[in-house]
Subunit: 487 residues, 2 copies
């Protein structure tokens, strides 16, 4: 135990330690241009304005904070910022419920039924579909709406069924992880029949790319279930078709938007499957990886970690690619839990032992110093999704999110939004707000933002050559952003 | 970016990494006896029972969790455990409000008035005291109660005024840090006139020692304001008298309880003072340290950090002892904040630069990797007070408390209860429950508890010889506890 009497602290030693600490943080070692430093002054002023608000938005549940965030000049600036890539986004939570309700459900041949739990199910069909168990009789929305004087209430109910965002008190509505996960899964069931209808599927993905593009995101890695996509007559397409469709629409979108770099797909399977099903999926993943090297990035397991099987449970299946000498990069969700020391809590270490390319969430990483060290040394970035973790009740106040620590240590990480449409966020800007103002506190600066954007390309699945291309495209957009906003 | 194809993970390598990780945690390297391992099996069963509860107590606000915790067999066992020393306790929050209301306010010559904010003030006086500004006229409690048929309501109001614990919904009653700190400070004002009355002061301290003793705590380091203590005629005593009184009562208590080791005092001053007042206090602290080396442990600043001046602001005054070559050990509160990067947030580094012996709270330590590293290398222990940090709204779910990470890394730390009477906790057992079940999760075990108890002696202000004595006293009690509870 130390005590007492040395000299009074030397101010220059103190200054050196403080500089050492700030050089360690994300972006702490970037050399900034005069224009970037001017922009940083503005950012610091805007941040102080956020901190002086009677309610500090990152301390509030995002559903309560959203309007505060959206109306802030900080948000406008972050929205304009070229943020690079969004590396942790799920296929069917790209496009807001508004578009699904007001565009998709207004298309012809759209049927709806309502479950006992008041969750909606949808289906497009050329004839009246077979009844769905535990659901009301199917109603054709065109006919239903034609009979109504005012469809606002119906449209609002539809919207509400397709997202978990709510204007009600979220803490009262979703008191526990169990409740919010249940609602979350119900909302996916709800939109399933809409987004897996072939014409909608194409439009949905195009619309999703547009929304990210408008949010100044230039690249996406999409975790996609690659489900069977159906046509109006009930016929269906296989996974290769779905993947090819992603590829075609991506190419089309890039052709139309030359400052958008592209998108790649991480094929995902629900972790609720058994070994047989997972084996089939891994084998298909290896085929797809070989057949569609341009669009296909790798493989992941999805669904609530605490409720599912551990990676170690599936170790034999997950070893198949390595055993066969076939490359199938993994991008595992791991450590999306606050239960320390469970079987599932070992997913972090196991993801790393299976050579995962990145870690989805890694919320529990700080409690696993060995895994954390491996992740850092191997440059395995953590995909941090602050709003998702808050909404799914891992942490209440974003300042207590473990990524605040990872950022202060300069751990490899990227910011993403997981399921933006489900959480009522859009693109990456809301999560960048939470990261910059909440996780970063007063210590974050323009270098933090720049590094986060650069990380999103450096830690992407793109080849080194593609990364160079993407980086130079991003750099041009960044320089423009800086010069237009620093005054 | 790593990807893909090495071999399947080697189970023995995995096992080695998991063992490495568990050896890093607090108590992870202790060698356990067969009896300790049997007791650990019981502990793990009891912990699983806690985890299976529909509401996991560490995830709840302590005010809601208390009855769940208290009724658990886990709590009973932790209560019986010899926990070593309580190193972060404040002078006037040792004894529960029940005793103050039902014993102290029933003593003769006790006057009460009520402020505009419905907070009570008390004073013992041989004659009717002068009116207090912004307070109702003084009422003598003896007379007031004599006129009442039933005093239960009055007694309950008095109790409520002396603590912030409540049966109401704490999140609704204390929606923000500002609100809860205000109530907290009001409660201290409320009990001030009771506990600074000389006869009560003595009894209160003796009663406080008894409560910790009954909770199987064998040693205390008390942060004490050493205020002027008054007699019935209004005459007052100086600080030396107060300190000497602590010393006498401690000696008496130890004489009466040979398995209690003792107590030492850390003289504290409110951080709201100006430089002149702090200079006077530091000079007095140096004198007291010289005159009462047995009881006096050192110096600290108290009060809400975010609202007060930083250590660096006071750097000249705090350097006085070093400049004069006088030993005055510091035990600074530092980093009890969730505001990253503010002036106050530098207190952690500055406390270390002023050679603090320990760090009070250190809630923000993880976000300061340089300070964290210094604290670890120099063996400057963090005094972790989970319930305090939760009640004062730094973190909602104890599992997200940064000490969960510190424990997983084996950072030097002790568990304490800060202001148990204010928070409705008692001794150390509630905080040990939160630490063992909440911070430790499934990873904590008998070694964790043992190490925490040992730490509380190793990181105390006791001399090495005293520590050896205290440790051997503790070891005897521990062996008895283990043999009586492992079956
Ligand atoms: Zn995800
Ligand atoms: Zn304290």
């Amino acid at each position: 135990v130390m005590s007492g009497v040395l000299g009074a602290p030397d101010p220059s030693y103190r200054e050196a330690l403080m500089q050492l600490e700030s050089s360690m943080q994300t972006g702490g070692r970037l050399v900034l241009s005069p224009a970037e430093r001017r922009l940083d002054q503005r950012l610091q002023q805007l941040k102080e304005a956020e901190m002086k608000k009677p309610d500090f938005p990152p301390a509030l549940h995002f559903f309560k904070a959203r309007s505060l965030i959206r109306s802030s000049p900080m948000y406008s600036l972050l929205q304009k910022m070229p943020k690079g890539g969004a590396l942790h986004i799920h296929d069917f939570s790209m496009v807001d419920a508004e578009w699904l309700a007001m565009n998709v459900t207004y298309r012809p041949n759209c049927y709806m039924c309502v479950t006992g739990e008041q969750s909606m199910r949808f289906l497009f069909s050329s004839s009246s579909p077979k009844p769905l168990p535990l659901c009301s009789p199917w109603m054709q929305l065109e006919h239903l709406r034609a009979k109504m004087v005012n469809t606002t209430d119906l449209d609002n109910s539809i919207k509400a069924s397709l997202t978990i965002f709510t204007d009600q008190d979220p803490e009262a509505l979703y008191p526990s992880q169990d409740v919010v996960w249940k609602r979350f899964e119900q909302a996916f069931m709800s939109l399933w029949g809409l987004v897996t209808y072939a014409p909608v599927f194409r439009d949905y993905y195009y619309q999703g790319l547009s929304q990210f593009y408008k949010d100044n995101v230039m690249y996406l890695e999409l975790r996609a279930l690659l489900p069977q996509i159906y046509e109006l007559d009930g016929s269906t397409h296989d996974r290769a078709w779905t993947l090819k469709t992603y590829q075609e629409i991506t190419r089309q979108f890039v052709a139309e938007h030359p400052d958008f770099f592209g998108a790649r797909i991480i094929f995902t399977v629900h972790r609720g499957v058994n070994t047989t099903l997972l084996t089939a999926a891994i084998e298909e993943a290896m085929r797809l990886q070989k057949d569609f090297p341009e669009i296909m990035a790798g493989f992941d397991l999805v669904g609530r970690e605490d409720a599912g099987r551990s990676l170690w449970y599936f170790r034999d299946v997950l070893s198949l690619p390595a055993k066969r000498g076939v490359s199938l990069p993994f991008f595992f969700h791991a450590g999306e839990t606050d239960l320390e020391g469970t079987e599932v809590d070992q997913n972090l270490l196991d993801a790393l032992l299976f050579n995962t390319s990145r870690i989805g969430h890694g919320f529990a990483l700080l409690r696993h110093p060995v895994a954390k060290n491996l992740s850092r040394k191997r440059g395995v970035a953590v995909e941090v999704c602050p709003i998702s973790n808050q909404v799914l009740k891992l942490v209440a106040d974003v300042r207590n999110h473990p990524a605040a620590v990872l950022m202060s240590e300069g751990h490899p990480l990227v910011i993403s939004s997981d399921d933006p449409a489900m959480f009522g966020s859009s693109g990456l800007s809301d999560d960048f707000y939470e990261a910059f103002v909440g996780l970063g506190g007063k210590s974050s600066h323009i270098g933090t933002l720049k590094q986060l954007a650069v990380n999103s390309i450096r830690y992407s699945s793109l080849s080194p050559e593609q990364q160079e291309k993407a980086l130079s495209l991003w750099q041009r957009r960044w320089d423009k952003f800086v010069s237009e906003n620093s005054f």
